[in-house]
Symmetry: C2
Subunit: 334 residues, 2 copies
């Protein structure tokens, strides 16, 4: 019989196929296929993107020319626009607002065919530093209440360009999913006077079987209440609500864990698409410092979300996280 | 500039591309491709499925043989199992339950290549009647708190078999997404002493521009706060919290609206995959009769859900519902 598990944070139930688990070879996932054409994110094509907002580049090289390591530009097709005042109105029973916000793209490296895990550790550290730098800058804009950093890797994850990149969005309101996590974390803290994520880390490190990789500062594991097969969470061991307040020691530690985790995922599932999302506390007066704990969620695209998931918010997980963690842990990185 | 719109039911924001809308020809969606092999849902292959639980068939034909019009069988690979007592336990900070529930498949017709809208109206009425009949039967089991009827049509919508079918799931708890809608509807009712869905119907029928099809009993429209381009909701005009309490007049009226709406969608987007979900009130003591209003949501698979949506619960809608409704309304059904 399958097992139902409930997420204590947001109250989501999942159905885990514990009696008949799907092993890695049982998944047929969508391959990476891309249209050809000139890549706007490659060296020499800097003029094809909006001008750089922030950059880490070789000394002596000029803005918007080659010689950069990590490059942040405005999204050419932004979901939200930076100019203007926030203007909220009502239309009958509905509420509306104009589309104020920021939408930037972080080009992670000049290498078209290298995913984040294929970069050298110092290169990944540059990318993580850029995440923090951009977030710290966007926070200064008091219109923004929430900053989201996410990567769509591969077409099945919604990426429209092959060249690996991260997106950063600043929103003028705290979105529903973030609010839910905050409320869940707050309620737990209220009841137990402890952080739910710290408790979760403690339980995972006692039970051990779902841990994939860990070091002094971070722990990566397949969560007990995974929504997707081979889902991986990366939690900082030190309680902290903002990812951009990472210390100088934590940045290289995160880079190392990211490299190892993504490399292991790639070893088990070559050419897999995935989403990677940084969950962090809202900003500018919407804070909830005591009870929230920033973290990263990696969601591999091995299955499709269908009517059952849409209708209920239940997820059916064909591989229990205990088995997924075992495969990832044992994966030999070449 | 894009427009942010907020759903008054669950508080979800969406970003609508009002300034640069994508028109139907701008979408590239996944085609229907299927593996060959014998179809277990076709005439003559009745022995390939579990025995029928309920059936509408020609008089004089025997159970589990040809001659049926609509046939309900247990799902061969059920997410939940019907036998056993519900057993809930805790594991550290997590909650668990055994996987008790029902998971049935309604084979909508013997025709392998006919979607619901390709059937004749009386055939669609049979399918709708079967939905009600199965729900009314499953409600008798006091272990179940929620019944979900949904259709995954096409591979991009998560269908694993080509032969059109509906699934019905009975759950031992009220899932998160259903609870959210109930709470939203309840809060609105508490504040205004009116049903939010009845208000929504009134506003849509006043503004008219998002209505696709309507008759005496049902209204189909592209909701103001669509999450997906060309999303369509079908609402009964008479306030009622349970779909399975539809009257004998409502069944043919729903069949007619379903046929027209799905036919129009197919005319604008041939071979499109979509999910169709019946939202209805929980059962057996979890009722919320006054404030909830059952309805159908149709979610076309024209775009992919990516990191932004997963991280925020915000959706980016490339075609405003006003434009989608115009295309659907004007689509000439052949």
């Amino acid at each position: 019989m399958s097992e139902l598990r409930r997420d204590p944070l947001v109250g989501r139930w999942v159905i885990v196929s514990t009696d008949n688990p799907t092993l890695p070879q049982g998944y047929e996932y969508e391959p990476h296929t891309w249209k050809g054409g000139t890549c706007p994110f490659c060296y020499g094509n800097e003029s094809m993107t909006p001008p750089e907002i922030a950059v880490i580049r070789e000394p002596g090289t000029g803005a918007n020319t080659s010689g950069w390591h990590v490059r942040t530009v405005a999204n050419k097709y932004p979901a939200l626009q930076i100019e203007g005042d926030l203007n909220r109105t009502g239309v009958g029973i509905y509420d509306m607002s104009n589309g104020i916000g920021a939408h930037e793209v972080i080009i992670e490296s000049p290498y078209h065919n290298k995913d984040l895990c294929d970069l050298l550790n110092p290169e990944i550290e540059n990318v993580v530093s850029m995440y923090c730098q951009r977030a710290l800058d966007l926070i200064k804009d008091r219109r923004f209440k929430c900053i989201l950093v996410f990567r769509n890797f591969g077409p099945a994850a919604g990426a429209s360009l092959e060249h690996p990149h991260t997106q950063i969005v600043a929103l003028p309101m705290v979105p529903k999913n973030v609010k839910e996590e905050l409320v869940g974390a707050h309620n737990y803290f209220d009841y137990r006077e402890r952080c739910i994520f710290c408790d979760l880390l403690r339980q995972e490190s006692q039970e051990k079987e779902r841990i994939v990789v860990e070091n002094k500062y971070f722990s990566a594991f397949c969560p007990f209440v995974s929504r997707f097969p081979f889902e991986i969470w990366i939690l900082p061991k030190k309680h902290n609500c903002y990812f951009c307040h990472m210390t100088q020691d934590e940045i290289p530690a995160l880079a190392a864990v990211l490299k190892e985790v993504l490399m292991k995922l790639k070893t088990v599932f070559p050419n897999l698409s995935y989403n990677m999302i940084i969950h962090s506390s809202p900003i500018n007066g919407e804070d909830n410092v005591d009870s929230y704990h920033w973290h990263i969620e990696i969601m591999p695209k091995l299955t499709r979300v269908a009517g059952f998931e849409w209708g209920t918010g239940f997820y059916v997980v064909l591989t229990p996280p205990e088995i997924a963690a075992k495969y990832l842990k044992e994966a030999k990185i070449s």
